[in-house]
Each structure stands twice: as C-alpha cells, then as structure tokens.
Subunit: 229 residues, 2 copies
C-alpha cells in the first residue's frame, strides 16, 4: 500500500481526486485519521481526513513541509521497450528521484505508445512516487525520436563505452545530466555515431544487463556522484 | 530468449538436460547450429549441436573459454519477502554478478519457503545467468535465521546508517563482503543492535526503496567500489 496520497492543496485544505479517494476507501481510512499527502511539486502535507464520499475526499492541513530541490537536474531517456521491463524501469527511476523521464523511439525499438499506454505510464510514476515518498514527481515526455537538448550532458549506455568510475569523476561540476538507454538490441551504428558527438559513452560491464537493470544501476551511479540520495 | 544454455561438459562434448533441451526445441535450434553454453563454474563454451531428441541434447565443443574469477566474494542476504519483489531481486543480483544469495527469515518477514519455492528460486537464478551470460552461477542458501559468518564484512542497509560514499571508501582492501537487506518493515531493534556489533549500517537515502531496488543499488555500489563490472 502507498505511503502517501496525491493531493491538490487549496489554502489550508487538501482535496483528493476520484482515483485517490478510491485508494483511501480501499485502505479503510476514517474521518479524523492523519495521513500524508504529496502534491508532486516538493510539498509533503500531514492532513486530517475531514470529508470522504464516493467521488472525492478532503482534509485539513496540519503540517506542511516544503522540500528544497537541489541544484541538479537528472533525466533518463529510455528507448521504447516492452511493458514489463518499462514498468520496472519507470517505477525504479522514480524511486531513485529522477527529475524527468523521456521515452523515445529508436531504430530497434519494438514497442509503440498510444494514449492509453501513456496514461498507464503516468499512473506507474505517480504510484511509485507515493510509495517511496518522492516529493517531486518526475516529468514525462514521450517522443518519436530522441530530443536534442544541448543543455544536458548526455551519458549513453553502451558496451563500447568508458568504465563508470571515469565518467562519474567528470560529473561533479555538471548540473544537467541525461542518461540515455538504448533498446534491447542496442543502438544502431548511425544512432551511436550521432550520440557520441555530444555525449559520453559509458559501459556497465561485461554481462548483458536488461533495460530496467541498466536504468537502475546508472541512476544509482549518478546519485552517488552527486551525493543525491 | 536466453543468450546461452546450461550445459554439462564431458571431454569434448556438452550434454543438455531435459529442461535445457526443451528450451532448445522452443527456439527451433537445428543440428549443426553453433550455440553458447555455460556450466556455471566459469566456463563459456561454443558448441555445435550434434544431437537432439525429446529428453536430451548434446553438442561438440568448438571453443572453451575459462573466465578467471577475481579475488573478491560478494554475497547478498535478503530477508524473506514476497515473490514479485524477491523474483526481481534474484534476477538482478545475478545480473550484477553476485557470488552468493542467502535468503533468511527475519522477525518481520512475511514469506515462507518450501521445497517448491526453493526450486522456483533456483530456476530464476539459472535463467537470469543464461540471459546475462554470467559464467559463475550464484550459490544459494535458504536459512531460518541469518548466518553468522565472521569471514564477511557485513553491510546492513538501514535508514539510520552512513552514506554510501563513506562505506565504499572502506571497502577497497576487503575481499569478502555481504550486503544484508531487511524485510519490508525493516529489522527490529534487537536484530539491528546485534548486526551493528560486527557490521556497518549503510543508508540508501531519504526515499523509501523497495527491497529489490535496495538490492540492485547496493550491489551496484559494491561493484563500483571493487571495479567489478
């Protein structure tokens, strides 16, 4: 069960939408109970449940803590991949406090995304944020090809890359990092040549890691380098 | 589909048992085809398929590479937890090249293990080894309480612990490390007091990580410290 609820704050009250209200009912929450709320923008609320019906719930704010965001932005760009892998990657990237998740289409990607799938993705991110008490819900962007964003230092995961220790050492004075994870079959040579021009290739070792494992391990390394735990 | 098969070598041939033969048939492998085999003890074989029936298969060894194990032993001890979490933890620990997986019963553990579950655990470890081409299959030990093994330096994951950077720095001259991951509700105070006497507590940060995420992140840090990728 989640450790917090997604809430919409309004003066000294919080409102819970239909989905959150349903969760609240499943947990048999009672009027008067104290609960934790997140608005996804850095605030953690302690609220007392004051109203609960089928459609919505509300509570009185008892305490509000604003978590300050550090000066870094960490993004992860994942080539569209099959749902079981992607679901774990989304959940874990959120647990590890990533600021933005980009999902892009690469030459060897097999998965396609329609609106229903995007809703499913958003739900996983929100549920994971509530579970792990991440006060900043990661932004989501689903694109047909990888965004060229020159503000980021790109780290591309590839077996031909440098070992993590060397890459991590170069990160300390950077503020915007994007990790790029290719599809199951890897990037094709053309994609790789283009990516190499502006980013650094990093190898995660001699074993073949699944997409979701590569996401977790690389984010763990960046968090360690940034002391961002 | 797996990237290699589990094989039993015998002079210049390899034998595949019933389960592996079934996998082979599913992939529609043909006589004469060249495949990769692992014996779980550090050998990677290239073999040519020479025989295939319903019960067993065999092949002629074309090439044999012995992978040398480094001088370290990395173990992970996981408090018994629910299957979906445990399954991911087992799969990923294997991908990250752990040498031994211990599953123990802790005060707040909810899951119980019978022989059928142990077979399921072994299967996940073997399948993951084949998938990621890990030449050393991790050893498994399922115990009713945590083994006291004084040969290991224990790192206990706990929110009250030291940050990873400091712990990692103390690892460089160690050869036997065991990471200990508690149950979902954490260790109780008595368990923690006992563990603290011989090991180091390490915190993975302010968010609440699921068991499987904690397993992956902590093993990634140890691998980084040991340059063991």
């Amino acid at each position: 069960m989640a450790n917090a609820y997604y809430v919409l704050p309004e003066n000294n009250i919080v409102k819970l939408n239909k989905t959150e209200t349903k969760h609240l009912r499943v947990t048999r929450a009672c009027i008067g109970e104290r609960l934790l709320g997140l608005d996804g923008k850095g605030n953690i609320y302690t609220f007392e449940l004051t109203g609960l019906n089928k459609e919505e719930a509300r509570g009185k704010i008892i305490e509000q803590n604003k978590v300050e965001h550090d000066s870094r932005v960490v993004a992860i760009a994942i080539a569209a991949t099959k749902w079981p892998s992607l679901r774990i990657a989304l959940e874990k990237a959120t647990e590890l406090g990533v600021d933005k998740i980009e999902i892009f289409h690469s030459d060897r990607s097999v998965a396609r995304f329609d609106d229903r799938k995007i809703e499913k993705i958003k739900k996983v991110i929100r549920e994971s944020s509530k579970q792990c008490l991440n006060p900043f819900f990661p932004k989501l962007e689903v694109t047909s090809s990888l965004n060229e964003d020159t503000e980021y230092l790109d780290i591309i995961l590839d077996p031909s890359g440098t070992e993590p220790k060397n890459i991590i050492e170069t990160l300390s004075n950077k503020t915007r990092i994007r990790i790029i994870v290719g599809p199951e079959g890897g990037f094709n040579q053309e994609e790789l040549d283009k990516l190499k021009k502006t980013g650094h290739l990093m190898s995660l070792g001699k074993r073949i890691l699944r997409v979701e494992t590569a996401v977790i391990v690389s984010l763990a390394y960046v968090n360690l380098a940034f002391n961002r735990l």
